[in-house]
């Protein structure tokens, strides 16, 4: 067959004015819904946050900054937050954003029927409680808290809370059920073919936040291409073929595939450290691991530099802290870490009366996390140090079930990104009787975390986090290994794309060269 003839035939069949300017992004699974912060996962957040925006959002370094708000003023007692809305912001249906929209959205989110993931974060069940929301005028919203909280704005900016996205009332059907997101973002929903793709169209009347460049979820946010398509592709080999053929422009691939992609001249590899934490959990309620000397022995048995290099394909750096390395709270104290010390391991094992019992290490083989490679290298290091261990590979849902119930001895696990250190500590610290999934059950730690959630002063917070880190290293309830290095493989045609700490693709201010 004539190659040129067939290629021309294929192009004729596929070409449309839009496809030439469509950025194709690979997702490892379809999104769950387009309802912000409700039926969601990481992929869902990544797509939806192109269409909707909140009052505040994360900057490139993880700090929180105004987004739909022009400015945020905090009262001296820390109880009242006044958001002044940016002028001229429009929803995708042309309506102008007012404080009434913010009030309507807040009422909807706090209604149990909405099923918003983060309702418990704001209704006092976990700690913070918003006692009132008022709109003194069309451009001002005042939110009042029961008690001061250093986490209020950070929680408002959280991606899993969909940034408390402000959507238009017409996003709902007449019966009150969700229809589609009519937000204020640079892209609007084009088409969602379940199991195939989500297509987003450029919102031509978008009013960008101020700034001369993109800055996380804030800063300049103009859409440069008419369409972005997120394609659901589960198979890693197909993703690689798509990238190399030019059919895909952005994809996240496992670290192990990076050398191969770097060798090919047709794509560029971008990396950025994220706040996702990879860890080895040690169950302190297990008869064997309840002895802190056993947990310390495990920590000392691991050659962390080697382990992280192997598991991350030499991309990651050892970080035993719960605070991500790009955080302003990542101090000298946070750099303190476990050291590989075989002699100490021997002593600790003898002191703990270890008799060669086998420790089961649970892992999964998802391609998006290094759970299995971490387990394999850790097992080899533990065996070398005289600690017998066995890997049990579980499918993700089963592992999550075991994690939720605290039903494990050791587990290779990854925590989703939390930018604020107190949020990060909250992920794994708490009373095991009430929350069996928590890895660290320490009253002192809980007190320090509680203080860090209400203290706004950065110096004070730093002291609290530093004390927490030292306490965690001594108690060894889990061993943080490293922060995920996000690796985006992108087409050489793509201009302006960059990976960043939140680990989610952003397709505004990104163009496609011909």
């Amino acid at each position: 067959m004539n190659r040129r003839l067939i290629s021309a035939f294929a192009l004729l069949a596929l070409a449309s004015p839009a496809t030439a300017q469509t950025i194709n992004v690979a997702l490892n699974a379809d999104i769950r819904s387009t309802n912000p912060g409700v039926n969601r996962d990481d992929n869902t957040d990544a797509v939806v946050l192109h269409m909707v925006e909140g009052l505040v959002g994360y900057r490139e370094n993880g700090a929180v900054a105004p987004l739909l708000a022009e400015k945020v003023a905090v009262s001296p007692d820390g109880l009242s937050y006044t958001f002044t809305l940016r002028k001229g912001v429009k929803f995708h249906n042309g309506a102008e954003l007012t404080s009434a929209d913010v009030l309507w959205n807040w009422t909807r989110y706090m209604d149990p029927k909405t099923d918003w993931r983060c309702r418990s974060e704001f209704d006092g069940r976990i700690g913070m409680k918003v006692t009132g929301v008022t709109a003194p005028d069309a451009a001002t919203v005042v939110m009042t808290l029961e008690k001061p909280s250093a986490l209020f704005l950070d929680t408002m900016a959280r991606t899993d809370c969909a940034m408390v996205a402000i959507i238009h009332k017409d996003s709902l059907k007449p019966d009150g059920s969700f229809d589609k997101p009519i937000g204020t973002g640079p892209f609007m929903l084009g088409d969602w073919r379940r199991g195939e793709f989500v297509s987003l169209k450029r919102f031509d009347s978008y009013v960008s936040p101020p700034g001369d460049k993109r800055d996380g979820y804030v800063g300049r946010k103009n859409a440069l291409v008419p369409e972005v398509k997120f394609l659901s592709i589960a198979d890693g080999a197909t993703v690689k073929a798509g990238l190399l053929s030019g059919a895909l422009h952005v994809a996240d691939i496992p670290d192990s595939d990076l050398p191969e992609m770097q060798k090919s001249g047709s794509v560029q590899v971008m990396t950025a450290p994220s706040a996702t934490k990879h860890a080895l959990l040690l169950q302190s309620r297990d008869p064997l691991l309840s002895d802190v000397r056993m947990r310390q022995a495990i920590a000392a048995a691991l050659d962390l530099d080697e382990l992280v290099a192997q598991a991350s394909n030499e991309l990651g750096k050892v970080n035993n802290s719960a605070i991500h390395m790009a955080s302003p709270y990542y101090s000298e104290v946070q750099r303190q870490r476990y050291n590989h010390d075989p002699a100490r391991v021997k002593k600790l094992l003898t002191d703990a009366g270890y008799k060669g019992q086998t420790i089961k290490l649970i892992a999964n083989k998802r391609s998006t996390v290094p759970s299995f490679p971490v387990a394999v290298v850790a097992q080899a290091m533990l065996q070398a140090a005289g600690i017998d261990s066995e890997i049990e590979v579980l499918e993700w849902a089963t592992q999550l079930d075991r994690y939720s119930k605290g039903n494990y001895q050791m587990m290779s696990f990854s925590y989703s990104a939390r930018i604020d250190p107190a949020q990060s500590y909250n992920q794994f610290s708490g009373p095991k009787d009430t929350y069996p999934s928590k890895a660290w059950d320490s009253r002192r730690a809980d007190e320090l975390i509680e203080k860090a959630t209400i203290t706004a002063d950065e110096g004070e917070r730093q002291k609290l986090f530093d004390e927490l880190h030292k306490l965690m290293l001594a108690d060894a309830p889990l061993i943080f290994l490293y922060n995920q290095v996000d690796t985006a493989v992108v087409s050489k045609r793509l201009q302006g794309f960059a990976a960043w700490v939140a680990g989610k693709p952003r397709l505004w201010e990104v163009g496609l060269a011909n």
């Binding site: 596929l14 769950r32 059919a247 849902a397 075991r402 939720s404």
Partner: protein
């Protein structure tokens, strides 16, 4: 024939009932539940219990089964926990995509493999026979995912003839739709050739050794008349049965091929639903697959008299 068909359909009811009870029970025995997966690493026992209650998963398994079965009798397979779509339209939509690949691939494979199998039997132990058997064995031995990837690399990446990722419906754009389906169809086609060819060869060989074939030859009939008028009709029965089984199997799940070629078919829906513990979709898919299997084999049985008049639909 109508009575036969109705009897067979009624006989399938207990099968489908057993399938639905076992799938319903087994999927709930696997650890992990949709609420935990939806809430992720920050889930608390209270939030999980809350969501389970809203999804109706807090009730006992027999009660859940009773509700599901009651709705099933009304033709309602429920709603997906994951996508919140109605399950039956979702399955039908995905089934149509899988069916167009499977039906074309099996039809083409049959058209090639059956004559090739008969030919191989006719020329038994010649170089032609050995070559055909070797090719069939090779095609049968290659896993479909690997074959798919090879095609993807060759026709998609190297020659750049066919699109590598994505899917376009034939109804939306017939030419693009066909281009996206060529490689998945080719993968199944090549794999199934091996299966059908070997069966066609074996059953023809068996028939060629029977006395009535010797008698036909002794009558002075030409070899082609012996082969096609006397041997083939009798030898085709087992191959036809196998084609039915292959069709039933493939219609129920070509998840691997669909995953490699990013085809949003029924197999991928089922696999994704299992990973997400989307119980209503898993139950609906399994029941649908079982029903399809029964139906395909019924059609196969009803077609027997066309090839062999001795068989009647009684």
């Amino acid at each position: 024939m109508l009575r036969f068909a109705l009897t067979r359909i009624l006989m399938s009811v207990p099968t489908l009932l057993i399938v639905s009870i076992s799938v319903f029970g087994l999927i709930r025995l696997i650890p992990g539940d949709p609420a935990s997966l939806m809430l992720g690493d920050l889930a608390t026992p209270a939030s999980i219990a809350d969501l389970q209650a809203r999804l109706g998963l807090d009730q006992s398994v027999p009660v859940q089964f009773g509700i599901w079965f009651g709705n099933l009798l009304k033709g309602d397979l429920g709603q997906s926990i994951n996508s919140q779509q109605a399950v039956l339209p979702l399955i039908l939509q995905r089934f149509w995509i899988s069916a167009q690949i499977v039906l074309v691939a099996v039809a083409l494979a049959s058209l090639v493999a059956v004559p090739a199998g008969v030919l191989a039997a006719w020329k038994q132990d010649t170089s032609l026979d050995l070559s055909l058997v070797a090719v069939a064995t090779l095609l049968l031995s290659i896993p479909t995912f690997w074959l798919g990837l090879l095609l993807l690399l060759f026709f998609g990446l190297k020659l750049e003839w066919l699109p590598v990722v994505g899917y376009v419906s034939i109804a939306e754009n017939p030419i693009a739709g066909i281009l996206y389906l060529i490689m998945p169809i080719m993968t199944l086609f090549l794999h199934e050739i091996g299966v059908i060819l070997r069966m066609a060869r074996a059953s023809t060989l068996e028939v060629l050794r029977l006395d009535y074939i010797t008698h036909a030859r002794a009558k002075g009939l030409t070899e082609s008349a012996v082969l096609w008028n006397h041997a083939f009709k009798n030898a085709f029965g087992p191959t036809w049965t196998l084609i039915g089984l292959v069709l039933g199997n493939l219609l129920g799940g070509i998840a691997v091929v669909e995953t490699v070629f990013t085809i949003p078919g029924l197999g991928r829906l089922l696999v994704d639903s299992i990973f997400a513990r989307d119980y209503p979709v898993i139950q609906g898919c399994m029941l649908f697959v079982a029903f399809t299997y029964v139906l395909v084999n019924l059609v196969i049985d009803l077609c027997y008299p066309i090839f062999d008049p001795r068989v009647t639909a009684q």
